[in-house]
Amino acid sequence: MGDRITLQVARYRPEQESEATYDEFEVPCPKDWVVLDGLNHVKDRLDGTLAYRWSCSMGICGSCGMTVNGEPKLTCATFLSEYAPGPVRVEPLRNFPVIRDLIVDIGDFMRKLVRVKPWIVRQVEKPLSAGEYLQTPDELEEYKQFSMCINCMLCYAACPIYGLDPKFIGPAVIALAQRYNLDNRDQGAAARMEVLSEHEGIWGCTFVGECTKVCPKHVDPAGAIQRYKLSAAVDSMKSFFLPRGA
């Protein structure tokens, strides 16, 4: 019948097992329920020990990323009825170590993000008396798309390169670096370039393109990376041919 659906939820309880197992739960499936609603129903009524992250339930905090039927999704933005008659397999986000059940450790991403200085970097600060840094709507358009990133890490889960080489700095970090590089108020492009021009920086990317496909905020990290490759390559040529100029 159309109003119930089975969730196959991955469990990992390190105190009692060394591999992931799967528990099945039957949950209601009203038209407006998302996968997160199903998980909340499990936790509230069926098995209170289920561990998972969520917060805003409206696609802006980036906490509820999980693998749903093999695809990285925000569980607050994925309708259960899409998968009717089910079952729906819910697993932790790929390519990250699993702490418990559906919770993954995101420390690697956090450490990499800080390395690219995702804030406005100024060589010369303007004094307060000089007023604000001005930006036209066109200048905003240059980087606005990349500012939409909610750090949900679905792109890392989708990226096979990150899965194979965890040292790869990854799509979201590069997109966020670009968000600041392309901001006319920022003067930190050179500092970021040092981090990103390493072998596991942008050059690890082979443009699979899955990151852009799964991004729930249409940031297009693959595009950001390719643009950055081009500008890094041009920079590299310039510094080779004109070491002191440019």
């Binding site: 093999g70 170590p97 096979p160």
Partner: protein, 138 residues
């Protein structure tokens, strides 16, 4: 590695699933990616084929005729038919990718990706027509 007591009170053992060597068979998009990368083998093959052709021409008319005869063999033709398919696949996927690396501004506005894409296809058509005409018509 202790099976039962990987658990400590403040840092339980994390699960790190291993990525299979056949990861690229798990999703159609991954398979398409590997095939796209694989098309480079056919780029290399045909470049070698062109080098063989150039060498034959350099050695004289007889060598050129011999090359043409060799190229008509069934195995070679089959490999080249497969190469043709992969090279078309390479061209299509490369043109799809290229505009994402290039942001072209005309005045204040960005050229939409489809304009860049159309320009690539137009150049491809033009180049193909010129080469075709040079090798068959002239």
């Amino acid at each position: 590695m202790d099976q039962n007591h990987a658990y400590t009170a403040y840092h339980p053992r994390w699960l790190r699933p291993h990525v299979s060597t056949y990861w690229w068979l798990e999703k159609p998009a991954y398979l398409a990616f590997i095939l796209r990368e694989g098309s480079c083998m056919f780029v290399a093959w045909f470049t070698v084929y062109l080098l063989l052709l150039l060498r034959a021409i350099q050695q004289g008319q007889a060598a050129y005729e011999a090359f043409l005869a060799w190229s008509a063999g069934p195995v070679v033709v089959l490999v080249n038919i497969v190469s043709f398919a992969f090279l078309i696949f390479h061209a299509i996927t490369f043109f799809q990718a290229a505009p994402q690396a290039m942001v072209v501004h005309v005045g204040h506005r960005r050229l939409p990706a489809r304009v860049l894409l159309a320009a690539h296809y137009a150049a491809w058509a033009a180049a193909s027509i010129v080469v075709f005409w040079l090798l068959t018509g002239a």
